[in-house]
């Protein structure tokens, strides 16, 4: 029987099939761990006297509670609060006691958990990957089944390396057409979410297909899969191809030589059969797509940057418009911006920083605008500095920070002030997400950088024109 990629991964990880009374027992290949959603799970293990079953299959880092302000090696990190510090220290203690590899302050692989996993080559095609973090679908970019779990389930995986799961439904999102030049994976996923809605993927695992997907590099595919949860989906994935294999080759955790060749041969079978049946099919035309920005307080409120704020369809839309200070029918281009954030598990990889640098090179951040650029990992930071991107940023007047989640979730001290309008490359524009009363517009790194330069929402393609006016 023909099967989808999701079905193949599911089948090969079933320890026990589901019955009417009980969910399937699904084996987990890789468990990513961070400081926010794990302490209560380790406490549960300790209370029951349980060990971590496979510490070799867990991989931890610190990212959410960590400060991004630079500090001298050897001196204490400038945590925003004692609670932030205690959370990080708790993860050090838990991982040390249970023998789990932790990429902490001293590691060159420290970074946002969804940047670190792929960077180490720990994320591989065909794997099941979980993390107490809803953006775990990022790893689906490699053809892995990767999804977010709660803390109770973190405990289950630590204790048994397994999860109890009912099989989600399958959904194929097929893209047709070619986006305009300069349009990124972020614009594409914002367009997808705008079409299928914030709950359009609920209960489903999405497989993304189409030429526009194949044309994306791995950084772009990670950006795209990352936001699957913003359409409510359990996971999102893309079948691995030569782009995937080339990106993974030579990374720390992948095999070498003949073993690598054999592994790649096995990975090549990881695709949906031609006649695989999906529970739901959605076709989205991205031909001529231009950069996207959101106007509301949910990620499905994306419009093209030259577009206008739509008429409210319900009370939630009206409330969102009041919060954002936007009126139906007005253009979003030109809205005055207070702050720009370039970073997060969605857009903090080297390609994202290069896109931002292309805009900021030789230009200045507008007076009154604060621009924060936060690389996804220590290695991304190092690579950017080798390429001289840090100088482009700092000479433009932007702040170049240490790796971390930073202002995406705003729990480490990096945040906006009430009422500020922020153009952010992160994944959520919920009320107060970037600080109480803060208003967030989601966009690509290029659009965020352009907003930093002009001080208002600006199509990067029109930046040059504006300078000649």
């Amino acid at each position: 029987m023909s099967r989808s990629l999701f079905q193949k991964i599911w089948d090969s990880h079933q320890v026990r099939a589901e019955t009417d009374d009980t969910p399937a027992i699904l084996y987990i290949d890789l468990h990513l761990v961070h400081e926010v959603t794990s302490p209560q799970a380790f406490s549960l293990l300790d209370a029951q006297g349980l060990k971590v079953r496979r510490p070799d299959r867990a991989l931890a880092t610190i990212d959410h509670s960590t400060p991004t302000l630079p500090f001298r090696r050897g001196s204490p990190p400038p945590y925003a609060s004692d609670a932030n510090a205690a959370q990080v220290e708790t993860l050090y203690a838990n991982t040390s006691r249970h023998g789990i590899e932790l990429h902490g302050w001293e590691s060159e692989h420290r970074g946002v958990v969804h940047v670190m996993g792929p960077e180490l080559g720990a994320t591989q095609p065909g794997m099941t990957i979980v993390c107490g973090d809803s953006h775990t679908a990022t790893h689906g970019a490699f053809g892995a089944l990767a999804f977010g779990i709660g803390t109770t389930e973190v405990g289950h995986v630590l204790a048994t390396q397994c999860l109890l799961q009912r099989k989600p439904k399958s959904m194929r999102v097929h893209l047709t057409g070619t986006p305009s030049a300069g349009v990124s994976a972020k614009d594409i996923i914002l367009a997808i979410i705008a079409q299928i809605g914030i709950d359009g993927g609920t209960g489903h695992v999405i497989e993304y297909t189409g030429d526009a997907i194949g044309a994306l590099d791995m950084d772009g595919r990670m950006t795209l899969c990352n936001m699957s949860i913003e359409a409510g989906a359990r996971a999102g994935l893309i079948a691995p191809d030569e782009t995937t294999f080339a990106w993974l080759k030579g990374r720390k955790r992948v095999p070498e030589g003949a073993a690598w060749e054999a592994q790649v041969e096995r990975w090549k079978a990881l695709k949906s059969d031609a006649d695989a049946v999906f529970d739901r099919l959605v076709e989205i035309d991205v031909d001529g797509l231009t950069p996207m920005v959101t106007w509301g307080t949910a990620p499905d409120t994306g419009i093209e940057i030259g577009g206008t704020i739509p008429q409210p369809e319900n009370a939630s839309d009206t409330k969102a418009m009041e919060y954002m200070g936007f009126k139906p029918g007005e253009g979003i281009s030109g809205a005055r911006v207070d702050r720009v954030f370039i970073g997060s598990c969605t857009n903090s990889r080297i390609s994202d920083l290069r896109a931002a640098a292309d805009i900021l090179r030789g230009r200045q951040v507008a007076p009154g605008v604060t621009a924060l650029i936060v690389p996804g990992s220590v290695l991304v930071k190092r690579q950017a500095e080798e390429e001289g991107l840090d100088r482009i940023f700092t000479e433009a007047g932007a702040q170049w920070r240490e790796a971390g989640c930073s202002m995406c979730i705003a729990m480490n001290g990096d945040k906006g002030a009430p009422g500020e309008l922020i153009v952010s490359t992160s994944n959520r524009n919920f009320e107060g997400r970037q600080g109480p009363g803060v208003r967030t517009i989601l966009a690509s790194p290029a659009v965020a950088a352009a907003a930093a330069v002009t001080g208002c929402v600006t199509d990067p393609a029109r930046l040059k024109e504006a300078e000649y006016v």
Binding site: Y27, Q40, A86, S134, I198, T202, G232, R428, P436
Partner: protein
């Protein structure tokens, strides 16, 4: 942790009509710096209840919510979307809610809620619409029968994953079931190796 909830139980409903109430509204991220799951009720809907100075808001949507009386939260479509934080059901339980009813509940929140004894109930659209319009409705929740009966209103039966139901009624953690299959897990690992 909160005491296990026993069924059936009756309560009045408290209504939040807003759609897509995300977990950042249920408990803002800056309160996730805890290493405990206890006492999070004071942060439930914190920024809806308090302003930037920590003073009670005049337009607080939770005004009048006394969970000793109104422990069933009726919310707009797609409740609990957003992050996977289990702190969201922990906060709602500690605040005093025992069940959430909507016509759609986001996947991860729904799974987290059931594991902690906050019963996620998906109602048919028409009954959900009726409930949104009737705050304070007298609601009787019977988990064993999978029914919700509303005094002077419509009744309905709801779906719940059978194993989650079993764990809720018995008051057990699914971890025990997983642990009882350790032999199967071991053989799976040996085969895969």
């Amino acid at each position: 942790m909160s005491d296990p909830i026993t069924y059936p139980f009756s309560s009045k409903s408290f209504v939040l009509t807003q759609e897509n109430i995300d977990t950042d509204q249920i408990i803002p991220a800056r309160f996730l710096t805890t290493t405990s799951r206890d006492g999070l009720g004071r942060f439930a809907f914190h920024d809806w209840r308090y302003d930037g100075a920590g003073l009670p808001r005049n337009n607080n949507p939770l005004a009048g919510c006394e969970t000793a009386v109104t422990s069933v939260l009726v919310a707009g479509r797609n409740f609990g979307c957003g992050s996977s934080r289990e702190h969201a059901p922990w906060a709602l339980l500690d605040y005093g809610f025992r069940a959430v009813i909507s016509n759609e509940i986001a996947d991860i929140f729904r799974s987290n809620a059931a594991k902690n004894g906050l019963l996620p109930i998906v109602a048919p659209d028409d009954i959900h619409a009726w409930l949104l319009e009737h705050p304070g409705a007298e609601i009787a929740v019977d988990l064993a029968e999978q029914t919700v009966r509303i005094t002077d209103g419509p009744s309905f039966s709801f779906e719940i994953e059978p194993f989650a139901k079993h764990c809720l009624i018995e008051g057990t953690d699914p971890l025990g079931f997983l642990m009882s299959h350790m032999d199967a897990i071991q053989s799976f690992e040996e085969q895969a190796a």
